[in-house]
């Protein structure tokens, strides 16, 4: 199936731990993103990579570090997890289209920090 996939789907961990979320897209898109969705459903862009190059880096604590080994993968590593990091994290990708920039989303990773 052509899609954006994320692993794991659920992640429960203790404060202070380090964790990673992986994302892969087989749509052949050039650009990938990480979003954070809080409990009020607000979606906040965190990072965007185009062809393995960082192009958007919003105000995110430097405990969050994205890594793109190739244009089909964008992983998110989080150090020293805090309670406020609990959220759903979505990966997305988009093709290089002039004008519109429709994004295709993964199913989300629900992170719970205890």
């Amino acid at each position: 199936d052509t899609a954006v996939s994320q692993t794991p789907k659920y992640l429960v961990t203790q404060m202070g731990n380090d964790k990673s979320i992986k994302c892969e897209q087989n749509l052949g898109h050039d650009t990938m993103y990480w979003y954070k969705q809080d409990s009020k459903k607000f979606l906040k862009i965190m990072f965007s990579y185009n062809n393995k190059e960082l192009i958007i880096n919003e105000t995110v604590p430097n405990r969050f570090s994205p890594k793109s080994p190739d244009k089909a993968h964008l992983n998110l590593h989080i150090n020293s997890l805090e309670l406020g990091d609990s959220a759903v994290y979505f990966c997305a990708s988009s093709p290089l289209i002039a004008g519109g920039s429709e994004q295709f989303f993964g199913p989300g990773t629900r992170l719970t920090v205890l």
Binding site: T31, Y33, K40, K41, F42, L43, I45, S48, N50, I55, I56, F90, A92, S94, G99, G100, S101, E102, Q103, F104, F105, G106, P107, G108
Partner: protein, 114 residues
């Protein structure tokens, strides 16, 4: 700068009645506009998009939206609501630059009553 405002945080309709979800945008040039839907505990799915072609855009599941430049609006409508339409709906505007950044509304939660 671009922005998007969803005028209602919650909308409740009865099954079989029309749906209207309101969205106003602000953009200094011709924007691309999108509506995304998020069903409970699911990822985000594109409903429809406007990219400077026809002003009345038809999407999936019987939804449509009309781009009205004079009113800076992009309201989402459906003639007859179905129980399966209950979800969170996001209006989104895209900038035209190369960083593929989407500006997200805060969402409208649609409830469909039997």
């Amino acid at each position: 700068a671009q922005s998007v405002t969803q005028l209602d945080s919650h909308v409740s309709v009865s099954e079989g009645t029309p749906v209207l979800l309101r969205c106003n945008y602000s953009s200094s040039y011709s924007p691309s506009l999108f509506w995304y839907v998020q069903h409970p505990n699911k990822g985000l799915q594109l409903l429809l998009k406007y990219t400077s072609a026809a002003t009345l855009v038809k999407g999936i599941n019987g939804f449509e939206a009309e781009f009205k430049k004079s009113e800076t609006s992009f309201h989402l409508t459906k003639p007859s609501a179905h129980m399966s339409d209950a979800a969170e709906y996001f209006c989104v505007v895209s900038n035209a630059g190369n960083n593929r950044k989407l500006i997200w509304g805060l969402g409208t939660s649609l409830a469909v009553n039997p």
